[in-house]
């Protein structure tokens, strides 16, 4: 069956037994994806999931599409080759914070700045799960783990800030507690031309349980999640009573009554300059502060595979290569 109009969740579900720990946030992400795919309008046969190593990297086995479970950190590089060679495919990259920001950080930033046509899902659980709980490049300072008995010392990455800093043209954040929001972010990322990255706050209930609970649990969301809506002032709170304004280039949370609605940032995801989006991304400093979710940036631009293929087409306007001609392209002489 290859007609997308008739697929259901079952069609997108592989026959492999899912092997994440019971209660892991990865389950809800997988379900969101399997439910979303029938609606998205691509063929399973044209869909490829590429992953590296880690808990999140098991994802491709569970999708009834093409898939490659590759090696630690390298999925953006492998996917880059596939997307350049085969612009007809719908290529997704799935990985965790260790996979994509530590061992594979270099590949991630280059795939983003090249604007390769990839939809990248970064499951951020702020811990190493598969290797049993060491701190990760997104763990908060002072994290006590087996490898950091006196607390970690390194400053964590803020993945959205990293992505905006390396010229990503689509950057969003969502979390594993809200299926509809995840699906909306995945859909928007998929529809974007070029590299799209979605950071998914994902709960690892075994090694880092509740890492995001203070902002993602239902009764906290109104106060703690700042929903970004394009073209709208950035405000949140049960009554929309709080908002975000720029103060000397720095995003500050303010009471709307104190400053007036006109003082708030009006979110523009298509702004060519990413400075305001970057300022907003800095609000996710710790778990006690309100954190923006939604699309930070969505800038229309030509994707890398299309640009590569345009060069190929231009080189072939006179027809394809002639092998005999190539071999005779340097000065030649005859011996008789």
């Amino acid at each position: 069956m290859s007609d997308t109009a008739t697929t259901t969740k079952k069609d997108w579900t592989s026959d492999q037994e899912v092997r994440w720990c019971p209660g892991c946030g990865d389950y809800s992400i997988l379900t969101a994806m399997q439910l979303l795919m029938p609606e998205i309008g691509t063929r399973r046969e044209d869909t490829v999931f590429i992953s590296g190593i880690g808990c999140a990297a098991r994802f491709p086995y569970y999708m009834n599409t093409y898939g490659m479970h590759s090696i630690h950190g390298r999925s953006p590089a492998i996917a880059t080759g596939l997307a350049m060679a085969r612009p007809d495919l719908d290529v997704w990259v799935v990985g965790g914070d260790g996979d994509m920001l530590s061992i594979g950080g270099n590949h991630l930033i280059h795939a983003l700045r090249r604007n390769v046509n990839l939809t990248i899902l970064l499951f951020n659980n702020q811990i190493y799960g598969l290797t049993k709980g060491q701190y990760s490049p997104t763990s908060e300072v002072g994290k006590v783990t087996n490898s950091t008995p006196m607390g970690s010392l390194d400053t964590p990455f803020n993945p959205v800030s990293v992505a905006l800093g390396v010229e990503a043209t689509f950057v969003a954040r969502t979390h594993d507690m809200d299926r509809a929001h995840m699906q909306e972010m995945f859909r928007r990322a998929h529809d974007h031309n070029g590299a799209a990255i979605v950071e998914v706050y994902q709960n690892c209930n075994v090694f880092n349980d509740g890492a995001f609970a203070s902002i993602t649990k239902k009764d906290a969301r109104a106060d703690m999640l700042i929903e970004l809506t394009n073209g709208e002032p950035v405000r949140f709170g049960p009554e929309g009573e709080r908002g975000v304004m720029l103060d000397n280039g720095i995003a500050r949370i303010v009471e709307v009554d104190d400053v007036g609605v006109d003082a708030l940032i009006v979110h523009n995801e298509a702004a060519p300059d990413s400075s305001v989006a970057f300022a907003l991304s800095r609000l996710a400093g710790d778990r006690e502060s309100p954190t923006p979710v939604g699309v930070f940036r969505a800038l229309d631009s030509i994707d890398y595979g299309a640009a590569v293929n345009a060069q190929l087409a231009a080189a072939q306007t006179e027809g394809g290569g002639d092998l005999h001609g190539l071999l005779h392209s340097l000065p030649t002489w005859e011996v008789s």
Partner: protein, 622 residues
């Protein structure tokens, strides 16, 4: 000394000459040598070249570290190396004289730019006194010319600034040497006009300098006689002068055309392999996609991703890059996807000698991955042979669905030789099929696709995304043969290790028989691989002319070894393996065949010469 008229008449024919151009890296020696080579190629000589340049882009001017040289061996017969000792040294400055005079044959000719032999340059070259005056050159034929001054002089009326005119002095040297060796001048003049098109002053200066050098030979009183080398008697055909990196690039393109699979090259710049990236990037009209990746790992990763998508994935690098690609090669072994990894070997370890040649990556190619991760190894023998070697690597990769390592080296990469162009229609068809549908029945009797079902070559099918009815997942985790499902079963892992080895061993069934040249059943057998081919071939010729009975077998396929190699090694008094490492092939042969092989090592960053091989072989054989 002869007078002008007599001298003009006196052209002596020789069967070969070896000229070495040496100067500061800013002096344009590579360009000069290359032009002299091209003019010789067009006159039908056989030739071989050895360019040598410093690792620094601009080493301090005038110093020994900054010496750049180009040696060319031209001949009226079939030759295989850049030659032993040069007959002629062109020394553009004292540093070049200091570093390269010891290489010159005794009694050879030295051509000197006297203007460069002033106090400051002599000091930089660590000369206490001027070698032009202190007897250093006694016993050599010396031709001196104030090249800088004469070049400036002829450029004066052209409106060229003296500083710019000075840059043309290499063309003066080229003109002089072209006169001395009766090379045709028109191809060089033509080349100057093309190369510097749009820069009229540069054309004028270079042409004037070239003509002045030529005229200097005609009018100055020179002690050396003019020499001519007749065209070589080569097999009939169309020839071009080619270096290894270009031939390798063309071999990949030819194979891609004959396979009907477009090339995807993922590469990271590295000496001496970068020119393959440059060459392939030029040929997008053949459907070649190139990615200058962020690092060596991404270079091979992207190539593997493209291979998964049905393209001919290629990555090109040198030893340090291969070290970084090891893990991805292991993944390719596990995924059983075609991939070509080109290693243009250079001096190691670490940064080592980036611009010098060495062939010490054989063990890394053979064993340099964790786990039992066998993959085939193909190597090139000469610059033009890089074309065939590349074609063979692609053939194996596509047919057997495996990563293949193709070994070249710095000497092959930059060295040139005349190449009789193959008829493109004579190249074999190496096209492959992609999986098109289900290939198995599951327990419920449904038609399904299992990625690890194998054909008679033990190769699995190349199943690419976008194809209906064969969706599947693959990965680096051990899998069950057939279904491809993840499997941690001990028995299955053992079986998969065996299958992966066996399927590589099967490749040897597709090789042509080995050829032993020289005396096939001689007591003394030379076994070679890679760029030692030229020097070994030369040495075998000399030994035979001296009445010695020797055979030579050269290995294209280094893993798996050819099935007939064991028989060939048997019952020899001496099996001798010249290699540019401490004995890596030697060790593999000893391990595989229990043969008492002896290595002749050279690990100096320089290729073997036939002469030194003859000496060492005679020492071993006694």
């Amino acid at each position: 000394m002869t007078n002008t008229d007599e001298r003009l008449a006196e052209i002596r024919e020789v069967d070969r000459i070896i000229v070495r151009f040496a100067g500061d890296s800013g002096d344009g020696m590579q360009l000069t040598g290359d032009r002299f080579t091209s003019a010789s190629a067009l006159s039908g000589n056989d030739l071989a070249t050895l360019p040598e340049f410093p690792a620094e882009i601009r080493a301090p001017a005038g110093t020994l570290a900054g010496v750049s040289a180009f040696q060319v061996h031209i001949s009226d017969h079939d030759i295989h190396t850049h030659g032993d000792a040069p007959n002629v040294l062109v020394a553009m400055n004292p540093a070049a004289m200091k570093s390269d005079l010891p290489k010159l044959e005794s009694g050879g000719t030295v051509i000197v730019n006297t203007d460069a032999f002033e106090e400051r340059n002599l000091t930089k070259a660590a000369y206490d006194s001027n070698p032009l005056e202190d007897g250093t050159l006694d016993g050599y034929s010396v031709i001196t010319a104030p090249m800088t001054a004469l070049t400036k002089e002829v450029c004066k009326d052209l409106g060229v600034k003296p500083r710019d005119a000075e840059r043309s002095k290499n063309f003066f040297a080229l003109g002089l040497v072209s006169w001395l060796y009766t090379r045709p001048t028109e191809p060089t003049m033509h080349w100057i006009r093309e190369k510097f098109a749009g820069k009229d002053l540069v054309i004028a200066a270079n042409e004037a300098a070239f003509k002045a050098g030529h005229a200097f030979g005609e009018t100055a009183e020179l002690s050396a006689s003019r020499l001519a080398v007749r065209p070589a008697e080569l097999p009939a055909g169309t020839y071009t002068n080619i270096n290894g990196n270009t031939a390798l690039s063309w071999g990949l393109i030819a194979a891609s055309q004959k396979a009907g699979v477009p090339i995807f090259l993922g590469s990271y710049p590295i000496t001496p392999a970068s020119d393959i990236l440059h060459e392939l990037a030029k040929h997008k009209n053949f459907g070649v996609r190139t990615l200058q990746a962020e690092d060596e790992i991404a270079a091979i990763g992207s190539a593997l991703g493209a291979a998964y998508g049905g393209h001919l994935g290629v990555t090109t690098t040198s030893g340090p890059g291969v070290a970084l690609k090891g893990e991805t090669m292991g993944l390719a072994v596990s995924l059983e996807l075609p991939l070509v990894i080109v290693d243009v070997q250079r001096g190691g370890p670490s940064t080592g000698l980036p611009t010098k040649t060495e062939a010490a990556d054989l063990m890394m190619a053979r064993y340099g991955r964790h786990g039992e991760a066998p993959l085939p190894i193909v190597s090139a023998n000469s610059p033009s042979d890089c074309f065939r070697a590349a074609f063979e690597a692609v053939r194996i990769a596509l047919r057997y669905r495996t990563p293949v390592i193709l070994l070249s080296d710095g000497y092959l990469a930059n060295g040139t030789e005349p190449w009789r162009l193959p008829d493109v229609d004579s190249l074999p068809d190496i096209s492959v099929d992609f999986a098109a549908g289900p290939n198995a029945l599951n327990e419920d009797g449904e038609h399904v696709f299992w990625p690890y079902i194998r054909n008679e070559d033990l190769a699995r099918s190349w199943a690419i995304p976008g194809t209906d009815d064969i969706m599947h997942r693959i990965g680096g985790i051990e899998k069950e043969d057939g279904t491809g499902n993840i499997s941690y079963d001990p028995e299955n892992h053992g079986a998969m290790v065996d299958i992966r080895e066996e399927r590589i061993q099967k490749i040897a069934e597709s090789y042509p028989s080995l050829e032993v040249v020289g005396v096939p059943d001689a007591d003394v057998l030379l076994v070679g691989w890679g760029s030692t081919w030229g020097a070994i071939t030369g040495a075998v010729g000399r030994l035979q002319r001296a009445g010695r009975s020797v055979g030579h077998v050269h290995l294209r396929n280094l893993y798996p070894f050819p099935n007939d190699l064991g028989e060939i090694l048997k019952n020899r008094e001496h099996v001798i393996v010249p290699e540019m490492n401490l004995g890596q092939l030697t060790a593999l042969l000893r391990a595989e065949y229990l043969v008492d092989a002896t290595v002749i090592s050279k690990v100096t960053g320089q290729p073997f010469t036939a002469g030194e091989l003859v000496t060492q072989i005679e020492e071993i054989v006694g």
